[in-house]
Symmetry: C3
């Protein structure tokens, strides 16, 4: 599995610019998210203080807002960051974690959707919930296949002006008019916490360096899908998959990534 030439160009730009991506995310996944951004070539920040957020968001290249582990303090920090992003024109990405499963979170996610995110990334249940259709989410895992939320994603995109991605076995990315389908990844990725959250942060990094947002979101999910598929070749379980995924994000520019180098070694054991 190789990275398409157009996405390779975007990756090269991203690594030259090393976009500063500000993340408001759960403590559960903050470390993995930061490491995924660093491996890709972006510069993560996780500033959470109300005193620091507005200034930081205004200099960041992108903001990633994730609704995992909500608290009143976190909600206020997110509201402040989104407001700052609108003032400074910093593009921001919404990851509506748990929308559809927890009513208050669905409501907050819908409110945020009205605040002009550049992109939205969620699973089928979350995107269905944003579209006002009852989801079947149970926490963060999705009860439905991504193909069942394509129409909902298109509706959310048209309503909000955001590029919307619904991820699953196949990822769908839409601006409400054009809709792309992306294959890649591996089922084992669902056994690693924060894979979706890190994907949203990667999408934010891409939106921070590419103004064609449909292309930026598709590139970000392509990076996730290719690194995940390559990592699965080398992994023997979810622990080694998470490690290999970070390695493969860093090696995305190599044809075949690290997985191929290993295949080479196995093919020529004497070397």
């Amino acid at each position: 599995m190789q990275l398409a030439r157009e996405y390779l160009t975007l990756l090269t730009s991203l690594r030259l610019k090393a976009p500063l991506v500000h993340n408001l995310t759960s403590a559960v996944v903050a470390n993995f998210t930061a490491n995924a951004l660093l491996a890709l070539g972006a510069a993560p920040a996780m500033v959470e203080s109300p005193d620091e957020i507005p200034g930081f968001v205004s200099v960041a290249h992108a903001l990633s807002v994730n609704l995992g582990s909500m608290t009143p303090v976190r909600n206020a920090a997110i509201a402040l960051a989104v407001q700052a992003a609108q003032i400074s024109g910093t593009p921001w990405v919404l990851d509506p974690v748990g929308a559809g499963g927890i009513p208050a979170r669905t409501a907050f996610a819908r409110h945020l959707l009205s605040q002009k995110p550049a992109a939205v990334r969620g699973n089928a249940s979350e995107i269905l919930a944003l579209a006002g259709q009852s989801g079947f989410g149970r926490g963060v895992d999705s009860g439905r296949g991504s193909e069942q939320a394509i129409a909902a994603a298109q509706a959310v995109a048209r309503q909000s002006g955001a590029v919307v991605a619904v991820t699953g076995v196949v990822d769908y990315v839409t601006d409400g008019v054009a809709t792309l389908a992306l294959e890649g990844g591996n089922a084992m990725m669902t056994q690693v916490t924060g894979m979706g959250c890190a994907a949203s942060a990667i999408v934010a990094a891409c939106v921070g360096v590419e103004t064609d947002r449909l292309r930026a979101v598709a590139a970000g999910l392509s990076f996730v899908g290719i690194a995940g598929a390559r990592a699965a070749k080398r992994a023997v379980g979810p622990g080694s998959l998470a490690v290999a995924y970070l390695d493969e994000l860093a090696a995305l520019n190599r044809p075949g990534g690290i997985a191929d180098v290993d295949e080479l070694r196995n093919a020529f054991p004497d070397r």
Copy 2:
């Protein structure tokens, strides 16, 4: 080292049900705990907001309460979650991290013990402290062997009605009448933060699918011990042990786990 047939049956049930395990735990270990639950086959959640806790606990299959990194806000969240668990009948597990080392934490742990946990898991110092005997804990590591806390565990079990596990080189599990001893694991596991916390969450997952609590707790610790022992075969230090542990949790249903496959490879290097 193989998984006993009775625990393999419980593992199969667990993977079919994928119990939703709600965790109130420290940010230090939240990622590892979530990944351990996912690898085992459970569905972790880490909801922390007072607005969301009662509703979430009532639909969860089990609750795991861990006293690492206490704050006034965390204490209140734990009290709320335990109250919700009692109302909804959600079984909950107490991990009295640091009891015996910090007086306020010992007091809070003893208070929680009176709130009808389904199970308690701690090291020798923590269980001794719960029993009202002065522990020798220094933070989270135990100054004593698990065998020195067997009587204390039995006393705590009889007093609280919980199944009590005291873990160490040998793990002891008791309902106050019967007491089981389980071998397994590896000393290197003490060099990975969150191993005990993740074990408590795994015990919670088992209590969420098996009403015979003595059996459920013993099964959970058996999963931990076998995955840990297999992981230690493949690890060269604590970093690779943590990764291999997650892999082996996911491979618990395979005879010998991943460790054996590797042995096979080493035995037949030409393949």
Copy 3:
């Protein structure tokens, strides 16, 4: 790359004493920091509650204060911990994360510098900012080479009485009079979040067992540099580097660490 004999002696003392190192750090890096301390042979603690901090700091062998992810609550906890350390004589280490990039953080870092830290560890931008020179930091990464902050480090050391380390491709450690240069590490370490924070915690562990602070800080950074360089030999990317780093910290006392054992295996593939 081998550990110098004098640092090997300090490592042996450290493992015998297993110093309790109290950390006030960001949730992003708390897990990696705790695992690095455990791998080295220290005992980490991350107590955050105002009720527990003073008592805990007074029994700890060292305190590590890190300014990542500041909030008003975190600032107050840090002030409380530093005050407790001064009363009990617990040596403490300042990691001025983000100083130079965020004005309020620069001010807080300078205030803490006046509270008699035993040591300070930062990158060039952060140390320049502490010295009152405008840094070029963007979040936590440094826009300058460590050699450009040697004079600033010496000035900060003379002013504060702390041993000051500025880390980069070459690490410089100074008490304001003598200045040591240490090579080691690997550029790939900058792609792993928390490497600097964990280094500060390791320095704190060393300051907790060795009263010659210049020697203690140099030993700590030597541990980091050697483990990092050895890990880079075995890693294929930042994911496997982080894992190998923890393994190599635990294997620091072996000549050549685990990296050499692997070289041996590769050299004699039949064994």
